[in-house]
């Protein structure tokens, strides 16, 4: 064998190394598939369970596919399931979440972009301290701000309202959004700002005409991040809402916890999937921009 490969010369050696490469590749993909399956398992169980009837759940196997596919559980979760005394499903709460998340995401992204632009390109006195404090804001645990925030919302007269929740999420997200935009904008050469100043553009004009059009990748990152944070939030939602303004996460909790008698696993699962759908959707649609945006560096002039 040894003398064959040595007499075979370089082409033989190349084909051998190609074989090992292929083998490694197969092993790699195998491993990745196993991991993917492992992570997809809960989703699989959730989906199949949500499509089964209660009888089938009781008698059947957790992992098996549904015998008769039924969407009753989904209908019930969407518009009939009881969240405490009220039995309207997650639908009203879903809309609450939408009403909280969309303005919350837009406002915090826009303010973060402005903050990042100022900190990165208009280096005023104390810009570094300002930025450090902003960063510090990212790491304050939620629990710490609950009481002061409740008081604050009370003083502002927006306690328990949807604008109140938007306000909380904007404040809490600002640290992160500023960080994202600032790190993106520091890689933009300051001669660009100077050129625009000589061209006669002012603060907002430069931001609007030059920086925002450059920002698509980081806007996608920020929007995904903020949307996920706000949509999935439970603590603020449960603390600062009242009947009628609760977000879908709180409703989900109530559905799961408030059923009396038989536990309707299929409804619980369907409700959970409904609650998770928007974030899933955002990832699927914009996920590749997310990765691209995170790694996007300086701007080629």
């Amino acid at each position: 064998m040894a003398d064959i490969s040595s007499s075979g010369g370089p082409s033989m050696a190349r084909s051998q190394s190609q074989t090992t490469k292929l083998a490694l590749r197969i092993i790699l993909y195998l491993a990745l598939c196993i991991f993917a399956l492992f992570y997809l398992m809960p989703l699989f169980v959730m989906i199949t369970t949500s499509l089964k009837s209660l009888d089938e759940i009781r008698t059947g196997d957790l992992m098996s596919l549904p015998r008769d596919v039924t969407f009753d559980a989904w209908r019930s979760a969407w518009s009939e399931a009881c969240t405490g005394i009220q039995c309207e499903g997650v639908r009203p709460f879903f809309w609450n979440s939408v009403l909280i998340a969309i303005p919350g995401v837009l406002i915090s992204t826009l303010l973060g972009a402005l903050n990042g632009y100022v900190v990165a390109q208009w280096r005023f006195k104390g810009a570094n301290i300002f930025f450090a404090l902003m960063l510090f804001g990212c790491f304050i645990p939620f629990q710490v701000v609950l009481l002061p925030m409740a008081r604050m919302l009370g003083v502002m007269g927006i306690a328990g309202t949807i604008p109140g929740l938007v306000f909380v999420h904007v404040i809490y997200g600002l640290g992160f959004t500023t960080l994202f935009f600032r790190n993106y904008y520091v890689s933009i050469p300051d001669e660009l700002t100077k050129a625009a100043k000589v061209d006669g553009a002012g603060f907002f004009r430069i931001f609007w005409s030059i920086f925002l059009p450059l920002s698509l990748p980081i806007i996608v990152v920020t929007v995904i991040w903020q949307f996920t944070q706000i949509w999935n939030d439970f603590l603020f939602g449960v603390s600062f809402s009242q009947a009628g303004t609760q977000p879908v996460t709180v409703a989900l909790n109530n559905i799961v916890n408030s059923t009396t008698g038989v536990k309707e696993y299929n409804v619980d699962m369907a409700a959970a999937i409904i609650a998770a759908l928007p974030t899933l959707f955002v990832y699927v649609v914009a996920g590749k921009y997310f990765i691209r945006g995170l790694t996007a560096g300086s701007v080629k002039g």
């Binding site: 050469p189 001669e191 660009l192 100077k194 050129a195 625009a196 100043k197 000589v198 061209d199 006669g200 553009a201 002012g202 004009r205 005409s209 030059i210 059009p213 450059l214 701007v299 080629k300 002039g301």
Partner: protein
């Protein structure tokens, strides 16, 4: 008429570090002023101060006779070309060029006309719909020029606009900029650290070092009569020979003695400079040491020198010898008989030498 640009006693500090020290410069309409100096001497900072992009720490600044010290960049009636070109990456070439006019609310028809004119002038018509990322370095440079030209300002500011180009393109663009200047008759301030660029473009040169102006003058003045050792050494390629020598009064002239490695010193007689101190540094351009047959100045004096190295460079041949403990370069013609290791008689043009005080470096004659 008042000068187009007048900088008076300008100071600039970054915190405690002084970057520009007592700068006084003025240029007339149509002047091409070149700021030249080694890296970090404050050229860009001065340009940014003139543009109003950096606040100044002291002094006054007039553009077109108006005090602009506290006026914002957009109201100074200037246009600037940056070292990195700073083209707006998301805009097409056409939008890049018209952005300034759009911001200022110029009507679209005028914008279009000016864009056409400038694009034709710079031969970038076929690039107008591209983004900066799709241009070569030279094309980007042209677009950056176009953005400045379209404004028709009182004063153009250029910060090393050619430093990112390769050598050949740089020479081409240099000629183009010069032609443009002659055609427009515009007033320009141009930063470079390339002394050849400075010599070829300028009508007036400012040589800077460490934030202090060393000399202001026409290219010929700077070249022939450098104000101090720094300028003498910085301007010209190959650099001026700076040879330590002894000066002795002798009748109606001065005997200049230059030590040699072995043997007697060379003695030259300067009949024009009679009140030199004993220790001087003699500055001689390489072309002022030449073959006796080719140097026909009335102040030429001939001396025998031992040639150490001969470097043919095409049109000329450089001969290197050791005088006064320094390597001295002579610029000989291409068919010279000079050989390494052999004696050669060379003519020194004493009509063109500069003398410097060794301690202070200041010019003496």
């Amino acid at each position: 008429m008042s000068p187009i640009l007048d900088v008076k006693n300008l100071y600039k500090n970054y915190g405690a570090t002084a970057v520009l020290h007592d700068i006084n410069v003025s240029i007339e309409e149509g002047d091409f002023l070149v700021l030249v100096g080694p890296s970090g001497c404050g050229k860009s900072t001065l340009l940014n101060c003139i543009a109003g992009l950096e606040p100044i720490s002291g002094g006054d600044l007039f553009i077109g006779g108006q005090n602009m010290t506290n006026v914002s960049p957009k109201d100074r009636d200037i246009a600037m070309v940056f070292q990195s070109y700073a083209l707006y990456p998301t805009m097409t070439v056409a939008k890049n060029i018209t952005f300034g006019m759009k911001v200022r609310g110029v009507d679209p028809a005028t914008q279009e006309a000016k864009l056409k004119h400038v694009a034709a002038q710079l031969q970038i018509e076929q690039l107008l719909h591209r983004k900066p990322g799709q241009l070569s370095g030279g094309q980007r440079q042209r677009v950056a020029m176009g953005r400045a030209l379209v404004r028709d300002p009182k004063l153009f500011l250029f910060d090393e606009p050619l430093s990112n180009l390769d050598a050949k393109l740089r020479v081409e663009m240099r000629t183009e900029i010069k032609a443009l200047h002659q055609k427009l008759g515009a007033s320009m301030v141009y930063v470079t650290h390339d002394q050849i660029e400075a010599m070829t473009l300028a009508t007036k040169i400012v040589v800077m070092k460490g934030g202090v102006i060393q000399q202001i003058g026409s290219p010929a003045e700077i070249y022939n009569r450098p104000a101090n050792l720094f300028v003498a050494d910085f301007m010209g390629s190959p650099a001026m020979n700076l040879i330590p020598a002894k000066a002795r009064r002798n009748g109606n002239g001065t005997k200049i003695e230059i030590a040699r490695k072995d043997g007697e010193p060379i003695v030259l007689t300067d009949t024009r400079n009679t009140d030199l101190p004993e220790d001087v540094i003699m500055g001689v351009r390489p072309e002022d040491i030449a073959d006796p047959a080719r140097l026909t100045s009335e102040h030429a004096q001939i001396a025998e020198c031992l040639i150490e190295i001969v470097e043919p460079a095409g049109a000329d041949t450089y001969a290197v010898m050791q005088l006064g403990g320094k390597h001295v370069t002579a610029r000989l013609h291409a068919e010279t008989s000079a050989k390494a290791g052999a004696q050669q008689s060379l003519a020194f043009d004493l009509g063109k030498v500069s003398y410097f005080e060794p301690e202070t470096g200041q010019r003496l004659n």
